[in-house]
């Protein structure tokens, strides 16, 4: 697998759209967080967690951009920890309030400074340990990772895929689209009072069934559910 530069990764995860979301954090060597080899490994691990198929994988869903935005959050003012509110422009809003990050209070500042520093260090250490395993197959490497590090990478990759795109991942809302999730819904919501009753969205009703199922349960998923229910001592109804 070729080494990836930060610019390569931005292009892979949606290029201009993602760069436009992120305040100037630059692309120069001065603010590089990870080496190309480390980025390469993160990219591979992201695609183990969410493999690409007919829909994007974890890397294309913005894992690297998300992780870099998090560990460099304090290079920005205010730190890019909490996107603003109350709404984006994705569901009827005129402006995207998410783009204005929230100023941190004393305690949040201390907590997140500590958190981002720890996450960065855990990633650097975890990737070094992973490299030392000398396992070329990404899936086998993922299985061999230290439990805490594997959990951290899983959390970061899934946050990238399914958090709001202002945090650096979920380019073009591809993560939400893949799982048939409408995302942030304000100001429209799912049900609006019209003076005498409620109006709903035809494609995403609240009080009635969906018009169709975009992706019904298949045998693999049904089998897993049955196993889990049996494991928990639950009941399956026929």
């Amino acid at each position: 697998m070729p080494a990836l530069t930060r610019r390569d990764l931005f292009r892979l995860v949606g290029g201009a759209a993602v760069l436009a979301q992120l305040p100037a954090c630059g692309d120069n060597a001065g603010d590089r967080v990870f080496t190309s080899a480390e980025l390469n490994m993160l990219y591979a691990l992201a695609n183990v967690i969410i493999p690409p198929d007919d829909k994007p994988g974890g890397a294309e869903l913005g894992a690297i951009a998300y992780i870099e935005a998090l560990v460099t959050a304090f290079q920005h003012t205010p730190p890019m920890i909490y996107a603003g509110g109350p709404s984006s422009d994705r569901a009827g809003g005129n402006e995207n309030d998410f783009l204005t990050f929230v100023e941190l209070d004393r305690v949040s500042h201390a907590a997140w400074q500590l958190d981002t520093m720890n996450i960065k260090q855990q990633l650097v250490d975890g990737l070094a340990a992973a490299r030392a395993l000398n396992i070329s197959d990404p899936a086998a490497l993922y299985d061999s990772l230290d439990d805490d590090f594997r959990t951290l990478v899983f959390e970061l990759v899934t946050e990238a895929a399914w958090a709001a795109p202002e945090y650096g991942g979920n380019p073009n809302l591809a993560g939400w689209a893949m799982i048939h999730f409408e995302g942030d819904s304000l100001p429209m919501g799912y049900s609006q009072w019209n003076g005498s009753g409620y109006s709903e969205r035809g494609e995403a009703p609240m009080s009635t069934p969906n018009p169709s199922d975009p992706e019904p349960l298949d045998d693999d998923v049904s089998q897993v559910i049955s196993e889990v229910v049996a494991f928990l001592g639950g009941q399956t109804f026929t």
């Binding site: 969410i50 946050e159 009072w193 609240m206 199922d213 399956t236």
Partner: protein
């Protein structure tokens, strides 16, 4: 520059200081300021409600439909890295169970307090809930009657429902106590998932009813109707449709001219007078980390039960002649049942919980109906949490079960979010003297103060009741057409964030910390007004009772001989 002082910033002398701006503090602030007392509110957390003190417009929240920010980055909650709590089940565990240090029943720390994160389910307690000391005799438990009974509290319940704006349908819950008036507004638009579960309930003879919630079903109080955005339970409201006490009562107080709110101002010590018979002032840490000091004639503790007790203990053990400060800590004992359907019931669209039933509340001393609690009919969660759920279950199935392709299928087909409904019993938790808050002997927070340590384990009273109702929950999902149903495994920490007790009130100074009006027996000018007062936990969500009780505490401060005369229409 972030604003931290709100309301009448020129006020310098105060009749009362209220510590905390949640569901227990804001009703007090509202009543006192409405009766022309000058009140200073000290809130440890930040204010994310811009224009909260502007009479010409509604507040503009910084809250949003943002799962990462609210649920995974603790936007409104305490930060366990720098303000952790510790936990042990019994002293035999040593100083603490190290692996559980961190997020221990952390509630929001922000203007609005715990009332912000809830989907504001606001049922009242039942009349018998106030009499369990008389009605029950449970060895090892410490049940006590409330010094205030339902009949007296009813008018305060109704007042609180009007002030917050509670939707509901009078008479729909066959187990509810008598009401003097209907709910201020009708139930909102039903969610599809609860309608599906309702078919199962009806076939088994249970009575589903619209959950009383402080969420606008229609425009009310100058605030809009809820649009059912879906980010509700655990989420502060971005549209002001939820009638939290912050945007109703505290806002009214701030625009009255009689109130000053200082956010990011943490009270770290209550300073007694020379004879330790009253509070002379409070020491604070200011928004920039510098020390501060404020004084008033009266003081009200409303920082939540764990923090209330911690503050008294940090202040040298004030108010503790009974030895009960921090004791009888309670959480609701939640039993959670997942029902997975073949169809997408899209329970994430809507108010999370819009219906419930109370058939599993039971009755005292009835072996066929043990005391459990109201049951919430809830939708599923959101995608980031869903992903973690799948990882957890695949890991639990054993080595080799995880693979990315299967995980991706689970996310796309979504049995754990789009096809799931959840039943949650909020069951009575027996009060016990051994369940308590004290100060951890060595763990300090960001400000170098000892963190609260929880010592807690369940009593068989609630455990056996939970076991009794588990198969009935599964049966309901079967009757509703679910494909699967299972009881969720219990975590080491309680699932509930309903925190109660620690400063129980009562009629006997030797058996309680506070008197029937919420004043600490030992101190002439210190009251408590939040869930810390509860002698028992009931089996209903606590917020409505916290609000009603806080209104009564304040009314008794204004008029000790006739609190009810303070109620306004």
């Amino acid at each position: 520059m972030r604003k931290t002082v709100f309301g009448n910033t020129s006020l310098a002398q105060f009749d009362a200081i209220v510590i905390g701006s949640g569901a227990g503090g804001n009703p007090v602030t509202y009543v006192l300021t409405a009766n022309n007392l000058k009140v200073l509110v000290l809130e440890a957390g930040p204010c994310h409600l811009d224009f909260l003190d502007d009479a010409t417009q509604q507040p503009v929240p910084r809250f949003s439909n943002d799962e990462l920010k609210i649920e995974h980055r603790n936007f409104i909650e305490m930060h366990p890295e720098v303000e952790p709590r510790t936990w042990r089940n019994t002293p035999a565990d040593g100083d603490r169970i190290e692996s559980l240090t961190g997020n221990v029943q952390n509630l929001p720390k922000t203007v609005g307090g715990g009332g912000l994160h809830a989907d504001l389910k606001m049922p009242r307690f039942q009349p018998t809930d106030f009499q369990l000391g008389t009605l029950l005799d449970v060895p090892g438990a410490n049940f006590a009657d409330w010094p205030v009974q339902y009949d007296e509290l009813e008018a305060f319940y109704a007042w609180g429902e009007r002030l917050c704006g509670v939707q509901g349908k009078a008479g729909a819950d066959p187990f509810a106590g008598a009401r003097s008036s209907d709910y201020p507004m009708p139930p909102g638009n039903p969610m599809y998932g609860s309608t599906v579960v309702g078919t199962g309930l009806a076939s088994l003879g249970y009575t589903m009813f619209p959950y009383p919630t402080a969420v606008n079903s229609i425009p009310y109080g100058g605030r809009p109707a809820c649009v059912d955005c879906g980010f509700c339970s655990g989420y502060p409201c971005p549209t002001n449709a939820k009638g939290s006490t912050a945007i109703t009562m505290l806002r009214s107080a701030l625009v009255s001219g009689n109130c000053q709110l200082r956010a990011e101002t943490r009270v770290v010590k209550l300073v007694p007078n020379a004879t330790h018979t009253a509070i002379a002032g409070v020491q604070t840490i200011e928004p920039d980390g510098s020390p501060g000091m404020y004084t008033a004639d009266r003081y009200v503790l409303a920082a939540s039960p764990i923090e209330d007790a911690r503050l008294l203990l940090l202040s040298g053990g004030l108010g503790n002649s009974s030895g009960l400060v921090g004791k009888n800590l309670m959480f609701h004992y939640q039993t959670i049942c997942l029902g997975i359907f073949d169809e997408r019931v899209h329970g994430y669209r809507g108010r999370t919980v819009d219906h419930g039933f109370a058939d599993f509340r039971g009755a005292p001393n009835d072996p066929d109906h043990p005391l459990g609690g109201i049951v919430e009919i809830s939708g599923g969660g959101l995608p980031i949490g869903e992903a973690a759920f799948y990882k957890r279950i695949l890991d639990q199935l054993g080595a080799g079960r995880w693979n990315g392709a299967l995980f991706k299928k689970l996310m796309r087909q979504s049995p754990g979010r789009d096809r799931v409904m959840v039943l949650v019993i909020q069951a009575e938790d027996a009060p016990q003297l051994t369940n308590a808050v004290d100060l951890d002997p060595s763990i300090l927070d960001l400000d170098h103060l000892p963190v609260p340590r929880i010592t807690y384990q369940n009593h068989m009273f609630e455990v056996t009741a939970g076991q009794f109702y588990e198969p009935k929950l599964i049966q309901i999902f079967g009757a509703a057409g679910a494909r699967h149903a299972a009881i969720a495994p219990r975590d080491p920490l309680p699932a509930s964030q309903h925190v109660m007790g620690t400063l129980r009130f009562g009629s006997d100074a030797a058996a309680s910390v506070c008197d029937p009006n919420g004043k600490l027996w030992d101190l002439g000018n210190l009251w408590a007004s939040d869930g810390a007062l509860f002698p028992t936990s009931s089996g209903y969500n606590p917020t409505m009772t916290i609000v009603a009780l806080a209104l009564r505490v304040a009314a008794a401060i204004v008029n000790p001989t006739s609190p009810q005369s303070v109620i306004t229409s």
